[in-house]
Symmetry: C2
Subunit: 336 residues, 2 copies
């Protein structure tokens, strides 16, 4: 029991994800073998699978995925902070070639493990760190946000978007969520957004101007880039920041030079590696997020739960853009 894992032999469509039975490996020093209970899926994994990510040093077959919850099953030498039987989540901070977590077992660095907050189910515990750590950097670590500041979140129905909305509200900000789909408006509003802009139907620039009394937003979190950056720059306030953390748009991104100059905008690139590769920052972030998960102030929004043998279908769903929150694979059941 517990030997099926997902591997990738080539880049391509969802069907290149192969579910195979592979005997469990032994953890090396500093590593831990997990019995995986739930896996958090991320858009970046679909991009990686399609071959749109730089694959330095990748050899095929490779494993995939960095976010899961589960039980420690075996520990390598020098591992002292966790023991077999511990309930843990992974902080997505390691190489997936060896450490990928899609499967019933996974070998990950012990340093990437965080105790599961007691308030969370395994499914929720697999849906925490990618989204909240991604939002934490721009909003808490770099944002210098004050209560009342307007924060704009694009691709708001993504897991990071939903997490960022919760986090910005905790900081006292006025949150504007941007979505392409009118069907998602209500869920975003009940998820904390003060205002929702349906980008396909409304003019983002004039809506933001009306919402902010002409002042514009203070910070935007945008995983889309592409031609839409121009409207963000127009809607931005003086000295505002636009944080790019993805490339969902496949189109080129013109740099909005005039607005950038006139308003002194900063357009910044961000990946959560800034947090996860810096032990001091990571510790601060895990503490900040963990205490708010424990109190219920933050709570991941689960959109849909798949079984492990539905991994191809789950990737199709990720690429459909229909999700509203996190997509999780429940390895041993139907979620709880």
């Amino acid at each position: 029991m517990g030997e099926r894992i997902v591997r990738l032999y080539e880049v391509g469509g969802p069907e290149v994800l192969r579910l195979e039975t592979v005997p469990r490996e032994a953890p090396r020093p500093g590593e831990v073998r997990l019995r995986v209970r739930a896996i958090g899926l991320n858009n970046s994994e679909a991009q990686y699978r399609r071959g749109e990510y730089p694959m330095r040093d990748t050899t095929f077959p490779t494993r995939l995925g960095r976010e899961c919850s589960g039980l420690v099953e075996a520990v390598g030498d020098d591992v002292r902070l966790v023991r077999p039987g511990d309930e843990v989540s992974t902080v997505p901070s390691f190489d997936i070639q060896r450490g990928g977590v899609y499967g019933e077992w996974a070998i990950v660095p012990a340093a990437a493990l965080v105790p599961m907050p007691a308030a969370l189910s395994y499914v929720e515990g697999a849906a925490v760190w990618q989204q909240y750590l991604t939002a934490y950097g721009p909003l808490v670590e770099h944002g210098a946000l004050r209560p009342g500041d307007c924060v704009l979140v694009t691709a708001a129905s993504s897991s990071v978007g939903r997490g960022a909305i919760q986090m910005a509200k905790l900081l006292g900000c006025e949150v504007v969520a941007v979505t392409r789909s009118p069907a998602k408006v209500e869920a975003l509003r009940s998820g904390g957004a003060d205002h929702v802009i349906v980008a396909s139907e409304e003019d983002l620039v004039s809506r933001v101007a009306a919402i902010t009394g002409g002042r514009g937003f203070r910070l935007a979190l945008d995983p889309v880039a592409g031609p839409g950056l121009a409207a963000l720059a127009q809607a931005a306030g003086t000295a505002a920041s636009i944080v790019e953390y993805g490339q969902l748009s496949r189109e080129p991104t013109p740099f909005p030079l005039l607005d950038v100059l006139r308003k002194g905008l900063a357009i910044r690139g961000y990946t959560l590696w800034e947090i996860t590769l810096d032990p001091a920052r990571l510790a601060r972030a895990v503490d900040w997020i963990g205490s708010r998960l424990a109190s219920g102030a933050l709570r991941p929004v689960i959109d849909r739960v798949f079984a492990l043998d539905q991994i191809v279908e789950a990737h199709r769903y990720i690429e459909s853009g229909r999700q509203n929150g996190k997509i999780v694979v429940d390895v041993e059941g139907a979620g709880r």
Copy 2:
């Protein structure tokens, strides 16, 4: 004597600058009339003249120019900090419609005046504030630079470029100057640059990699934008900043999304209004720069001095891109 001023009746080539005899006006409350001795010319004034700047509320004819040195000739009501006869320079922080300084007299806000550092001539005193305040914001106010950090300066032979090189050296940085012209290399080197890259002949990315041992630069100051931003992003170090403060390239600027994401770059727009419209920042900046002018640690590089009736020729020269340092009009003589 002292009644000729330059006015613009329309946008266009250098020939639209008209030298006219216009009786001196009286300063209103808070204003001062200057007997202008020298005028610092700036590229932005040529852009304005060509109609490439937003001209909100401009009515023709309009005056032009914000940077000069001279003597206080008359003061309006409520002006207490300066008196007739004081030798002053202007901090470029005011509206040019009324306050333009191209001419033998000018009406400017008293708040825009700074005493002339004793060590400077009038010609040098007209060549100080635009360049050093522009460089001050990114390098001192925002830069968080440490000794040994690599600072890259494009359009390095411009007055701001030359000022930025001096300032970055004072901060202990390693300075890379980028110029289009091999003829300017020696002057840039003797002006403080540790390395000079001739962009038309050398590969900027590999030169910066060699200079920095592969680490890339920490901060770039770039008034060019356009397609060259891609190479700057490639040459940038992790978490580096690229400060855009002009639009010398007339071509569109693609946003270098992949490098921005991978390295966590910040691309920031900047104009010296960020400093000049904030009294506390401006006071800090004037103090920082003024003390270093007084000690000789900073010294403006004068490229060429024109007479007032050569204003059309001076603008042609600005647009030629041949300058190496500041272009100044000496109103009453041949400079000293």
